[in-house]
Symmetry: C2
Amino acid sequence: MKLPGQEEFEHSSAHENVLAEELDSGLGPGPSLGGPSDTDNGESGVSKDPLLFIQLNELLGWPQALEWRETGRWMLFEEKLEVDAGRWSAPHVPTLALPSLQNLRSLLAEGIVLLDCQAQSLLELVEQVISGESLSPELRGQLQALLLQRPQHHIQTTGISSCRGPNAFRNVSFDEDTPMKLQNPLKQKLPPGAEAAAVLAGELGFLAQPLGAFVRLRNPVVLEPLTEVILPSRFFCLLLGPPTLGRSYHEMGRAAAVLLSDPQFQWSVRRANNLHDLLAALDAFLQEVTTLPPGRWDRTARIPPPKCLPSQHKRSLSELQEVTGLSRGSAAQARDRHHHGQHAPSPELQRTGRLFGGLVQDVRRKACWYPSDFLDALHPQCFSAVLYIYLATVTNAITFGGLLGDATEGAQGVLESFLGTAVAGAAFCLMAGQPLTILSSTGPVLVFERLLFSFSRDHSLDYLPFRLWVGIWVATFCLVLVATEASLLVRYFTRFTEEGFCALISLIFIYDAVGKMLNLIRAYPIQRPGSPAQGCFCQFPGPGGNASEWTSTKHKDTDVLSVVSLVNASLLSPPECIRQGGYPRGPSCHTVPDIAFFSLLLFFTSFLCAMALKHVKNSRLFPSVVRKVFSDFSSVLAILLGCGLDAFLGLATPKLLVPTEFKPTLPGRGWLVSPFGANPWWLSVAAALPALLLSILIFMDQQITAVILNRAEYRLQKGAGFHLDLFCVAVLMLLTSALGLPWEQRLTGLVVFILTGVSIFLAPVLKFIPMPVLYGIFLYMGVAALSSIQFMKRVQLLLMPTKHQPDMLLLRHVPLSRVHLFTAIQLACLGLLWIIKSTPAAIIFPLMLLGLVGVRKALEWVFSPLELLWLDELMPEEEKNIPESGLEPEHLFSRAGNEDSELMYQPKTPEINISVN
Amino acid sequence: MKLPGQEEFEHSSAHENVLAEELDSGLGPGPSLGGPSDTDNGESGVSKDPLLFIQLNELLGWPQALEWRETGRWMLFEEKLEVDAGRWSAPHVPTLALPSLQNLRSLLAEGIVLLDCQAQSLLELVEQVISGESLSPELRGQLQALLLQRPQHHIQTTGISSCRGPNAFRNVSFDEDTPMKLQNPLKQKLPPGAEAAAVLAGELGFLAQPLGAFVRLRNPVVLEPLTEVILPSRFFCLLLGPPTLGRSYHEMGRAAAVLLSDPQFQWSVRRANNLHDLLAALDAFLQEVTTLPPGRWDRTARIPPPKCLPSQHKRSLSELQEVTGLSRGSAAQARDRHHHGQHAPSPELQRTGRLFGGLVQDVRRKACWYPSDFLDALHPQCFSAVLYIYLATVTNAITFGGLLGDATEGAQGVLESFLGTAVAGAAFCLMAGQPLTILSSTGPVLVFERLLFSFSRDHSLDYLPFRLWVGIWVATFCLVLVATEASLLVRYFTRFTEEGFCALISLIFIYDAVGKMLNLIRAYPIQRPGSPAQGCFCQFPGPGGNASEWTSTKHKDTDVLSVVSLVNASLLSPPECIRQGGYPRGPSCHTVPDIAFFSLLLFFTSFLCAMALKHVKNSRLFPSVVRKVFSDFSSVLAILLGCGLDAFLGLATPKLLVPTEFKPTLPGRGWLVSPFGANPWWLSVAAALPALLLSILIFMDQQITAVILNRAEYRLQKGAGFHLDLFCVAVLMLLTSALGLPWEQRLTGLVVFILTGVSIFLAPVLKFIPMPVLYGIFLYMGVAALSSIQFMKRVQLLLMPTKHQPDMLLLRHVPLSRVHLFTAIQLACLGLLWIIKSTPAAIIFPLMLLGLVGVRKALEWVFSPLELLWLDELMPEEEKNIPESGLEPEHLFSRAGNEDSELMYQPKTPEINISVN
């Protein structure tokens, strides 16, 4: 299963995301960089060695005022000190000149290499290093004093340091040590057990010979003033020499630091036994560097940290061989991709072969997580999720439930919608850092219910009892599906089906939001200059007490005085007129001016505001916490803004009307639906037919949602519960049918029941929400859901000139015409679904949804398995069709750092995926 | 002088721009890549050698079906063949593994190097290459046949190739040659004289030894089937060998191609005399490659072409030396930057020392360009410019002129505004490809005129004669300024002043647009439920003929019948009521419902639409031509949309009212203003005081605009005319004052007079434009102008967390706190200007604008010259304060490809800069 945006190598937002993400995992201020997340970053293949913080101290000021200054630091990426600006650069990919690496190599080859040095302090270390050099005692003393000199560190204190002058360097002295250590935000971000490496480089005029030393300490020791952060140092590298043209000790120092920051080199050098091993590690590094031609790349350009680091596992293997030719076909790559994907059947989708075997396993798997489901729901992130789902519920209640409520014969009013619609999803926010995947339900099922209602009305059926039987049948079918482990069929729901389904639901949302808005405008017509005469006139009944009579039969005895007062009173506003006992008459009495356009304004404002706030996340302004709040609560804020605008102007816009009394909306019915009502008995059997359709719909909706939710990218820890979920749906179906509440199919958590109470408690507040605002949010949900699927990206490709197309992986592997053909087929399917939904045959549309699976199957005749793998994913029986290409053992032929490492370019943290289906 | 966005190293839009631009200059479909633009791309420092098209043909299918296939091509950047997808990748920076370069080196060192080969055909060439090898005759024949085999080229035909299957390779045979050549869009894009280089690489099992050959042909020959484009080949490189682990001939072939695509290597190898020279060139290349550490960069990630290529000039120099340390201070870099900038006085700004000397020189310089000014104005790009300025004029006429017209005592109505306001700027679109710099004027001068008008009203002066004298004085002062070459003072208008001025004008635009809109809403009040009683009632006069009498004195003989008809008639709409001889009475008779909100909708729609269309340029959708049209005509399209909406609903929104009669708006005045009118004689002398203020304003407005226009980045070819422009202003000032037309100060071209006629011709059409739409466009112009200045970027920095700040050059060199301080001072100045503009002292605001120059001068006490250089630019006498750092000769110490090549990161084609001042 692939993430919708998996292959997007997008420059704009994705890039920004990485930037923000990697900056956080860099050295800049930001959240703590923990050990585990670091090992996830591709280092895990190599070792569990401690994290290394590398600092470059440069010797400056020769010959007058020698001083050491920290000019660079490395952890994952390089940060340079902008000397003039007095700030650290953003973390970036370090770039080196080849000669500096070669010079470093020769300097180390001639220099002192102490592995497993036993020094306990900087003094001891320096003495050991210098003792190896043939220097005069005087020079030795000078050198020693110099090496022990305290370097200048540029410490970036927390908070905005706007009151500092241009010279923000601080001399970290021993005495200031403790406060400094507390102040340095870096220290807090380093995981426990981190080690330091100090590289000292510079030009020293009094040296006759270059002095190179590489020291690995047996036991890491805090070399006190050397590093900005008080960490035990494991490595010490000294690169000094007389100023010579063509030898920049600064660049050599950077080269040494970059080498040490390379996980592979670090791994080797931690285990090196002698100089030879050290140089071998350096040579291995050189073999693998990426080179950019000087005429096409400027070395000063800073490359922001890439989306994803190269796999170290692959690098270790690749040391066995050099890069091979183009010989390795894309079939093997595709297979890799296949294996990288999670298409290999997960344990949740293994057939047990026993009746209800899947359900039993689900219960077993889930039971231990049950308490944590409640604890996890307390996470602050869940709050915004709950609010979002709550709003989705409200809008759902209005758009679908309200529609049924309008037709007062229908089953449900707004109250029932509130009671019945679930606020699920909070339980999905299972762990911190997990993406906020929110799935608001009820869309398709309510569409079906609407169809069922008009069907029963057309055939003069007693709707609620009929509906009860449909519910009973659906519950039965669902139980059968659970018993037979039908959820395993989920593997046939490839992205093709998912996207068709999701696009249809999104379109329904958009269509309904716009439609509702147009209805509202029709209800509050705009007065055009050419439209019928305006004017409203307050008419009082004559003494006879009959107003109509008064105008038709002319009472001769009418007092002129009363006529005059009548004329004056006729200017009263309609409510005032009614209060004084009159009747408002005239074409404009019942039209409220300004409402239509103000509603439109509210509609667009809430839609655009929600869209804009959602994108605040990718902005550079404001701290990330603020942006996150804006983004997570975008809908809520948009609604608040709409309500505020509405309250400010105080216009009589239509508001959300929630009944405050707790009783069924349809007058005269109890809470329990009678099993037969006015229907003939055989209808309870005939209900099995619509129930079959509804079962298909519920099964698809439920399972597709579950598949999306359980994608590997979301790193769920608690395992999926396909069978359990379906079982819950079956039980709830029975319950809601009996009570005449809307059907709701996804109720994994118990949170729904708690929040239903809140829902009713909130009702008095909700009456301040103007409907156009909710329609706007509704539109936003539809648009957001639609734009999140890869299908839409491919639709955009249809309009995009070839040269502007993004570097999507699928475009590297599938001819554009084939991609377009696939997209066109999807578009055609969607169009067909929409047409069916709009015709009298609409009630069979669940069958057509199932038909998507068939279409996808038929696509095997049009596309090759490889193409389908890139465009979609494979159905179970297609998997064996991917040629193995006879490469054995496979990993030996994986091209080192070549094509197939593209597979690593799957975003680690998927974007927030709001899928409103 | 720096471009507003000069230092932005922005990831989003700037990056996209490069992409689009470089793609065009790459091999993808797009505009022709001419020779001159190529040499601009940094190659000019090396040579005027022909452009080289390099193609890599790989030998595939060993051992069964050997065939050559083109898998890569290079011109500026690399394009890879996506074999599966059957398409060329987007051009990207080539990345190489170091071993492939080393292997290539050793293969060439052992192989055959033929420099100045005399072969006349591929056959001759192949024979010469093979003859050097010790092969059995049989193998020799086999090899020769193989090398002469026709390779498979992937030809991308023009147009969308959506009907091709997955196998889009075509066998280019001799017979198909001519049509192929015509079809291949690449051929059309190569400049005349381009040469080809063919690299043939692959694994060949029957070879015992690797076979490497590098051939330079003395006279380039078309080696017929080798290259996809029929070009004479200069280089031929053959890299074949037995399949060996660790030797990828594919990667070696790529390395050879990348080498040949490097301008420096190409230059050397064109002049190489022997193998030694060739290897030296390769070694020089190796010395300069940029290396990326394998653990931090994945080689398969494709780096899009950079914003700007490295300077080849610097590379040639850097060969003399290796990179040096950090020793070179930022002073030298800053000086470089200084020299790179155009602050060195341009010839236009050299003092002649003679009276009117500058004017004479301007006339001389400009005279030869005079005819071309008219020809250039015919360029299609000018059309959108003219339309834009025309719209700016219309909105100006309404917002400022209209305002004066509202106060009917004022000098000018809309007609005068139309007549008077200039449509300049078309003459600025002097050459194709030049950015569309449009400077719509009148803002500040009209603000001043407004102030002058209220002043004369407050003191009961006869406005027009007073204004005439002000105009006469301004003309005199301007002539004095021209005579004394005061335009040379322009160098004191640094970006600080420019930005303050521009921000003020933008704010005035925004403020006025919003204010006008609020006035409109006040004129069409919204009916709230709580507002005074609604209702409109049509009242007919009683038989006495006096309506008011009718209600106050009660006529006993009133027929009830007439009362009843009165009641019925009271429902008539106000216009109908008036037509039938009645009077509409009641609070809602004069309120037109829905207009306020509909106007707001139109206002926001036109604003957002213009903004959105402007950004279509950066979208990936649609061909660039379409996007360009959308972007250039954004305002026009937005207005059309607004008019369409308005026409569709047919509401009585206030429209743009243009008089159709050609007469002065103020009744009773002739076209010529009387010199004294009702004013005392001494007022003509006193008018010198406001004239002085206005002269300062005009001088600053005129000169700042000219400075912005004449920036080096715009590559104007015709030279500046500071003095000439000011002279024109003086003459026009006199003319407009005498005729009572609005002052208009920037009239370089004659186009204005032609377009004024069009303006009146268009008047009947203009009446369909709703005012809110124009206000929306007006708001858009203000916002667009405001967001284009660097000042706003720095204001954003105030809100941006350090780690999200873009990699701006100034942030690399100036501490953040100092940047913030500078921004804060600018903000304070702007606030002060705004306050003065809003108080009774407003008339002195031109003086305060001049005060900006003083504030900038005072900043020298707060900031160091270096900081000012990065934050702003230097005033003339500051230039000598930049320390020279005693580096001599300077270029020897320029760090090769290090810090100061950042200077190259100035955008070559500045973005469209719409500066509405």
